[in-house]
């Protein structure tokens, strides 16, 4: 009851100095807004990267051969695909070429030489036409499957591209299929690339080594088993652990989450500094307010207010200013998530823990920076305070 009344009188005191209270709050508003918005953007980034990695298939294993002398060939691919736990396997080579159709030209487009299983391993969906086949690879066919943006840029629509000729770095290919739009992932814009048969690509790129392989485990439970078996096989082939690396998606995710976690902390930390500045602003104004109200405090003490009464009054005022600032900052962050998300092209959401932490933080700022002025007010000597003009 006592606190309810202190609360009401604090509201009145804040209302009596609307402009000043608002300016004091502004520090907290900006602080909480930037903490909330920055953390949410960092979280949004993490979420979108994570989802694009997960969209590549959680059973995916990436194999890189680091040693130039270790040379894998089709037999090794065959052998790896027969290891326990391993599902599909596709070697790949990559280069960039200028693409030309009768309508348009695109420069520096990633071109992947892959086998028939590749689209299944990375979970691409075909929009129209057909996928690459083993026959394409065996016969070194000059056929291509296009990413969705390549198709629309060079042929206007996906359907119009099927059966058309495409020049890849000067070599003529026939478009046999177009993929659905996949969006952007850690490996770049997946709609702005093309797939051609592995053997065709090896010849074009004059590269007979197989140094990169995508494989999938038979299920998410066999990812580790498949990874171990592949590592054992590569150890036998290359003779050293340093010659190859095998990643699964959860490892990629983990290392990425480490990075974004640090990023979140750093952004939050920088924003927290503005909160600190806001807190100092509150302390400053509360000290001014104590001085201004010295005489009032004297009267209150003369008619029976205890130290605790005065302390409670000023502390509640400080907490109210910072708490209200926190709420306004949070509101501002909520309102801005929409525009921020569309500018940054991602979903920015304020998670509930961020809400709780920022409200807790703003209340804590009120207590920490309000306590000293409140103690000072409560310790005023009533005679001196009464004499104060």
């Amino acid at each position: 009851m006592v606190y309810t009344e202190a609360f009401i009188s604090a509201v009145k005191a804040i209302w009596a100095h609307k402009m000043r209270s608002f300016l004091t709050m502004l520090g907290i508003i900006i602080g909480i807004f930037s903490v909330t918005a920055l953390i949410s953007v960092a979280q949004g980034t993490t979420a979108s990267v994570t989802s694009s990695i997960e969209s590549m298939g959680s059973n995916l294993l990436t194999i890189n051969i680091m040693d130039r002398r270790t040379s894998l060939d089709a037999k090794d691919i065959e052998a790896i695909s027969e290891l326990e736990g391993v599902g599909m396997v596709s070697p790949y080579v990559q280069s960039t070429y200028t693409l030309r159709s009768s309508i348009s030209t695109m420069e520096d487009i990633s071109t992947y030489g892959v086998n028939a299983d590749y689209t299944k391993i990375v979970e691409y969906t075909l929009a129209t036409g057909r996928e690459l086949t083993d026959e394409d690879s065996d016969k070194r066919m000059r056929v291509a499957v296009l990413g969705s943006e390549v198709a629309t840029e060079l042929y206007n629509t996906a359907d119009a591209a099927i059966g058309q000729e495409i020049s890849i770095g000067g070599t003529r290919f026939t478009v046999v299929g177009v993929l659905e739009s996949e969006g952007t992932s850690s490996s770049g814009n997946e709609d702005e690339m093309i797939l051609i048969p592995f053997s065709t690509a090896q010849r074009m790129m004059k590269n007979t080594d197989i140094s990169s392989i995508y494989a999938s485990a038979t299920s998410s439970d066999t990812v580790e088993l498949a990874q171990e078996n592949i590592e054992d096989y590569l150890y036998q082939v290359s003779g050293s652990e340093d010659n190859y690396m095998v990643f699964n998606q959860s490892e990629v995710l983990e290392s990425l989450e480490g990075v974004t976690g640090t990023l979140t902390m750093m952004l939050g930390g920088i924003a927290a500094i503005s909160l600190l500045v806001g807190g100092i602003g509150i302390m400053n104004i509360m000290l001014v307010s104590v001085t201004e109200r010295t005489r009032e405090i004297g009267i209150q003490k003369a008619i029976g207010a205890t130290r605790k009464d005065i302390l409670t009054q000023f502390l509640i005022e400080a907490i109210l200013v910072s708490g209200l600032g926190g709420l306004l900052g949070l509101g501002l962050a909520y309102v801005s998530t929409g525009p921020l998300g569309s500018v940054l092209d991602m979903t920015v959401e304020i998670e509930s823990w961020v809400v709780i932490v920022s409200i807790g933080f703003s209340l804590a700022v009120g207590i920490v920076f309000g306590i000293y002025p409140a103690i000072r007010a409560s310790k005023l000597n009533p005679i001196d305070a009464l004499r104060y003009e």
Partner: protein
């Protein structure tokens, strides 16, 4: 004599208050002995610098003496903590100031309620008491007015209502008419007499002889000492 039988409510014994001003010692109170009984109407008079304000602060428990004893309503004030003194001020003494000292942001009612609030009186009872006190000082129609909407005399009456709300045994008035025109001052003095006749102990601090003469007993203080202590009628 009835008055002699009334109990001593304020008992000040050999009180000193010494301030150090640089190397000099200033004796604001220099061995004061003063006993005031219940239902008395006492004026304490003296020029400025005489020590009357210091004495008032002592009586009002706003200050503590350098040495000497003060027994208020049977309680020795010595060794009380600040919070306990706050409570004593709250329930034993009603303050009336020259400057009225009302809160400008609050209505008359809220101003009067305040001491009861610090005494943790429940809201409804407190409100009822405040309204009653305001009616008593003739401001029953103006309980929602703010001090700025009231005349000086009305403001002082609000302050008197505030001093009465916890029903303290002692009213301590510091130059209550000092900031008022003579007509309002007369009204306030009339009210003091009325409160006295209703059984309140009234202590009036003033430098004005005419005001002091209205009391039943006049205590003259000069240089921190009591020079004269005179009952009305007794020459």
């Amino acid at each position: 004599m009835k008055k002699e039988e009334a109990k001593v409510i304020i008992d000040i014994r050999n009180m000193y208050k010494i301030y150090e001003m640089g190397s000099e010692e200033v004796h604001a109170l220099d061995g004061v002995n003063l006993q005031i009984r219940e239902h008395e109407f006492v004026a304490i008079i003296g020029p400025s610098g005489s020590g009357k304000s210091t004495l008032m602060n002592m009586i009002g428990c706003l200050d503590t003496p350098t040495s000497g004893e003060y027994i208020l309503d049977g309680i020795s004030i010595e060794n009380y903590t600040e919070n306990e003194l706050a409570h004593i001020r709250n329930v034993k003494i009603g303050f009336i100031f020259q400057q009225f000292n009302l809160f400008r942001r609050l209505t008359a009612l809220e101003n009067v309620e305040m001491p009861a609030k610090y005494n943790r009186v429940p809201v409804e009872e407190r409100r009822a008491r405040a309204v009653e006190a305001l009616k008593m000082v003739g401001l029953g129609e103006r309980i929602y007015h703010r001090p700025t909407e009231l005349s000086g005399g009305q403001q002082q009456r609000v302050a008197i209502a505030r001093s009465l709300v916890n029903k303290p045994p002692i009213l301590l008035a510091d130059e209550p008419t000092g900031n008022l025109d003579s007509k309002s001052g007369e009204e306030i003095m009339k009210m003091m007499h009325q409160l006295h006749s209703e059984g309140n102990t009234i202590i009036l601090i003033t430098h004005d002889n005419d005001i002091a003469e209205e009391a039943d007993r006049v205590v003259r203080i000069f240089d921190g000492r009591i020079h004269e202590d005179k009952q009305k009628g007794a020459k």
